[in-house]
C-alpha cells in the first residue's frame, strides 16, 4: 500500500500536520468548525465556503478562521 504523505500547514497561527491533498472542507469538518458562523481565509484570500470541497491543501498553506466575539 502506498504511504500517504504528510504535510505541514498553519491554522490560526499554529502548525498542524495533515495528509497531503486533504480538501479544506474535510479538514474543517474534522476540526468541527461551525462553518455557518465563521469566515475562512486561505493564504490571505477569502474562501468561498461553497467551493471549499474543491480546494486541496498544500504544504505551508496558511488558514485563518475567524468569528465574532464581544468587542466595542
Amino acid at each position: 500500500m502506498k504511504k500517504i504523505k504528510k504535510i505541514k500547514i498553519k491554522i490560526n497561527g499554529k502548525f498542524s500536520t495533515i495528509n497531503e491533498s486533504l480538501s479544506l472542507s474535510i479538514f474543517l469538518i474534522q476540526l468541527k468548525i461551525p462553518l455557518k458562523k465563521v469566515a475562512i481565509e486561505l493564504n490571505k484570500e477569502i474562501v468561498d465556503k461553497n467551493k471549499m470541497n474543491k480546494i486541496k491543501l498544500k504544504k505551508n498553506d496558511k488558514i485563518e478562521i475567524v468569528h465574532f466575539i464581544g468587542g466595542g
Binding site: 465574532f68 466575539i69 466595542g72
Partner: protein
C-alpha cells in the same frame, strides 16, 4: 405623530443606543445588559476561532443576530490594510454590509488615525459597505468622511474606555450642524448623564461599552443609559429655553400679599 427613529443607511431603529459587547464578565451578563439597554445594534469584534477549545461559548449563541443587528467593528486595527481585511472577513461570516470602521493611530490614547480612516472609508464604500466611522471630533475630517461616502459619523467624546465624557461640545455641535448624516457619539462616555448631554447636543445616537460593562452594576447602568438617551433626545426635541444671566420668577409677581 410619526415615530422618532434612528435611521442609518436607510435602516430604521427604535433605539438610539448602540452597545458594545466587550469587557463583560460573561456572555450571559453581556446578553442581559443588552436586553436591558434596549439596544437594537451591538458592536462585535472579529477574532480567530479557538481551534483547540471549541466548547467555548459563541457570541451568536447568546445574542441572536436575527433579532439584534450585529455591527462588525475593526477595533484593534492600526492601519487601513488590517481594517479592510477584518471587514471583508466580517462580511463573509454572514453578509454584513453595515460595519463600523475604527483605525487606531496611537496605542496609549487610542485616537483614530484619520488619514488611514479616510482611505479605508473610501475603499469600503466602493466595495458596497455601509460604513459607520469612528473619528476624531474634527469637523473638517467629519466633512471629508461624508464626502467619501460614510453612512454615519461617529466622533469620540473622549479616549476609548476613559469615561471622561464629552470633551469638546462645540466641535460636536459643529459636526452635527454641518451634516445630514447621523452623528453618533462613540467612545469615552462614563455615566448615563454623558449620554443625555450627547443627545441634547442634537446627536442621533450614542455608543457605549466600557461605561456599562465596567460599571459596578452593569444591568443598572444599561437601564440608566437607555433612559438617559431617551430623556436627552426628548429634551433636544422639546427645545430648551434661552440661557440668561438674570433670574426670571416662576410665580406671578401680581397679587403678592
Amino acid at each position: 405623530m410619526e415615530k422618532d427613529r434612528l435611521v442609518v443607511a436607510k435602516k430604521k431603529f427604535s433605539s438610539r443606543l448602540i452597545v458594545g459587547t466587550g469587557k463583560y464578565k460573561s456572555m450571559l451578563e453581556c446578553a442581559n445588559a443588552i436586553r436591558l439597554s434596549g439596544a437594537e445594534i451591538v458592536t462585535v469584534a472579529v477574532r480567530r476561532v479557538n481551534i483547540s477549545d471549541k466548547k467555548k461559548p459563541l457570541l451568536m449563541d447568546y445574542i441572536d443576530p436575527k433579532k439584534i443587528t450585529y455591527l462588525p467593528n475593526t477595533a484593534g486595527c492600526f492601519n487601513s490594510e488590517e481594517a479592510l481585511r477584518t471587514l471583508r472577513l466580517a462580511r463573509e461570516i454572514g453578509g454584513w454590509k453595515l460595519v463600523k470602521l475604527e483605525v487606531l493611530g496611537d496605542k496609549k490614547n487610542l485616537f483614530p488615525d484619520m488619514i488611514e480612516t479616510l482611505k479605508s472609508t473610501e475603499v469600503l464604500t466602493k466595495e458596497g459597505f455601509k460604513v459607520m466611522v469612528y473619528c476624531s471630533d474634527d469637523p473638517l475630517m467629519a466633512k471629508r468622511l461624508e464626502n467619501v461616502g460614510a453612512c454615519a459619523i461617529m466622533p469620540l467624546a473622549a479616549p476609548i474606555g476613559s469615561g471622561l465624557g464629552i470633551q469638546n461640545t462645540t466641535n460636536i455641535k459643529i459636526i452635527r450642524s454641518q451634516t445630514k448624516l447621523p452623528v453618533i457619539i462613540d467612545a469615552g462616555l462614563g455615566q448615563a448623564s454623558d449620554a443625555a448631554i450627547a443627545m441634547e447636543l442634537g446627536c442621533d445616537g450614542v455608543l457605549a461599552n466600557t461605561a456599562i460593562a465596567k460599571a459596578k452594576k452593569p444591568f443598572q447602568m444599561a437601564l440608566a443609559f437607555k433612559n438617559a438617551v431617551i430623556a436627552g433626545r426628548q429634551s433636544f426635541l422639546a427645545g430648551r429655553i434661552e440661557k440668561s444671566i438674570y433670574g426670571s420668577a416662576s410665580s406671578p409677581t401680581t397679587g403678592i400679599i
